[in-house]
Symmetry: C2
Subunit: 189 residues, 2 copies
């Protein structure tokens, strides 16, 4: 159960087995059901998650119930409704477990004190944040300059697993296109 | 000339006058002309900038010469073509000084070693990164869920100065709307 998390930590910093064990002990774990809502918009996001199995989705909903996927948190990644978690303000977004998933999580206070018991965390978090910021810049670029076909090609390049694993409804929504357009693109590529 | 930078540093960490002076000495300074290109797409972005006067724009250009503004770096902020600077890879984006501007800058190596001579920098950079990531998430949200009017209202709320100071061509491009739509919105609000 800890395997992906261990890999993640070792990839980002040189750390001992003892430190890894201490880190893993610090996290709580949870199984989420298919479609389970982990955070409702309007609530303050209490937890940051590490997805050891499955995939989470962070999405917005307008007054008419139309959903827009802000980001996906795939297996092997940390993620949360970041603005709400960091600012400890009510969230604009929902967090949902797409299929069944296995998660580790920490609350805000535990998250902010991780560096005290686990010095390598400072560097790991900084690297994670740089990568997440770069990913969000790429997403902005794709939204302002690319058409549906190019956005699909980019996702194929960056995260081919996601396209295979996730329902097409979610992928289409993430790309900002209809399911019909998505299946046309899939059959062409 | 150092005033805004000093304010920025003091806002983010408790630091002494000596530390501030050491930090400021570390930076080089430069005046950029109106429209000056600081980074060409395809080149590796060498510098991170602090804008002490003026505003920088990070933008993409497609094969037909059509420009899309990825982000604006207003007075009093650090910024750069972040993916290229952090990964030290060729940039997708250009950086341009919109009007005349006054800048401080550091190269990548100096940037990465700032914490050694200036311990508070680690915390300042982390906070800056969290804020920048939150700003980029808000920009993604505005792109996937808002219409032109709502995007304009958001910019008015977050950065009213920009709308007053920058040419409407740049604002319209940042919002992803035509200049005609922008002037209609301006006259309504």
């Amino acid at each position: 159960m800890y395997q992906l998390l261990e890999e993640y930590l070792r990839k980002h910093a040189a750390i001992s087995d003892q430190e890894i064990a201490a880190f893993c002990n610090r996290l709580k774990s949870k199984k989420a059901k298919r479609g389970e809502i982990l955070l409702e918009a309007g609530d303050i996001c209490r937890y940051v998650y590490f997805v050891s199995k499955g995939c989470l989705r962070v999405y917005l909903m307008d007054k008419d119930g139309r959903e827009s996927t802000r980001m996906l948190i795939p297996e092997g990644w940390f993620g949360t409704a970041f603005p709400s978690f960091i600012l400890q303000e009510p969230s604009q977004a929902f967090i949902q477990s797409i299929g069944a998933s296995e998660l580790f999580y920490l609350n805000y206070k535990e998250f902010r004190s991780l560096s005290d018991i686990f010095p390598a965390w400072g560097k790991i978090y900084l690297t994670n944040l740089e990568q997440s910021y770069i990913a969000s810049i790429k997403r902005i670029e794709s939204l302002i300059t690319m058409n549906a076909k190019e956005r699909y090609a980019l996702l194929m390049e960056d995260n081919p697993d996601l396209i295979q694993k996730l329902p097409s409804k979610i992928i289409a929504d993430y790309l900002g296109i209809s399911q019909e357009t998505l299946s046309r693109l899939k059959s062409k590529v």
